[in-house]
Chain length 126, copies 2
DNA sequence: TGCGAATCACTACATTTGTAGTTGCCGAAT
DNA sequence: ATTCGGCAACTACAAATGTAGTGATTCGCA
């Protein structure tokens, strides 16, 4: 178990951009994120450095010799870790209350409910 | 919308203790939390002060004139807020992917699955 | 009636996070 | 060669968080 790094909220946005498409250079990332985050490029660079320190991303180099960045951890694993941590913090680690909570607090379409029920079933016999 | 305060992880533990039983004095809380957190009483007091500043708790006084603390916000509301924020951060605000994720990553008993399905149904017609 | 324990109000201090700014270097276009 | 725009390395700095320590008050008890 590589024991995943702790990714902060701002950092998470960066990671999403990289999970979505990588490698990217710092300036590419800045442009990618501009619509949502509107960060200065230096902000992006700082976050990149921190993510490298944390071991969440690695670097490479593109054809023109510019440094590129790419994830060193899988999104799914990070999502699981975040989910675990959240479930622990708020629901004492119990999945059912969590599921009940979100089921009750969300408006779902009939179709979504159908899908979810199917998944619930699969979470049993498989 | 009272716009709930931002409660940190350590603070959340304190809140849980108060939601569980209140009012409590600082030293009572310290004892209550000792098994789980093992905090110095001053740590508890600092957190209490911060929670007051944030408007998450209020104070009273017990029969012997010692200050007591009690929640100023409802647990359910805070859970909803935390849940919203988590769902936003990790699942882009979409409930279905979140539910799918936790449904897939949890081992549930047949009974729990039954219950959840019922709740999913109710989340529709009501 | 001074003392030790409990209660408070302040202060402390390292980390983490959010969000940049500053400086130095390098290569391509005047 | 000068110059200017990227790129990279460092530095900055305030707010939030985790986790106490110190000093002043007070109140029951020896």
């Amino acid at each position: 178990m590589p024991s995943l790094p702790d990714i902060s909220e701002s950092e998470w946005n960066l990671m999403e951009a990289l999970w979505e498409s990588s490698p990217q250079t710092a300036s590419e990332l800045t442009k990618t994120l501009r619509p949502t985050m509107n960060w200065a490029e230096n902000t992006v660079r700082t976050l990149l450095t921190r993510l490298i320190d944390k071991g969440a991303i690695k670097t490479g180099e593109n054809s023109s010799g510019t440094r590129t960045y790419l994830p060193a951890v899988k999104r799914e694993a990070c999502v699981r870790a975040e989910g675990e941590s959240f479930m622990q913090r708020i629901f004492g680690g119990a999945a059912k209350p969590l599921l009940v909570h979100f089921a009750q607090n969300s408006k779902l379409t009939a179709e979504e409910v159908r899908e979810l029920k199917k998944i619930l079933d699969q979470s049993l016999n498989s």
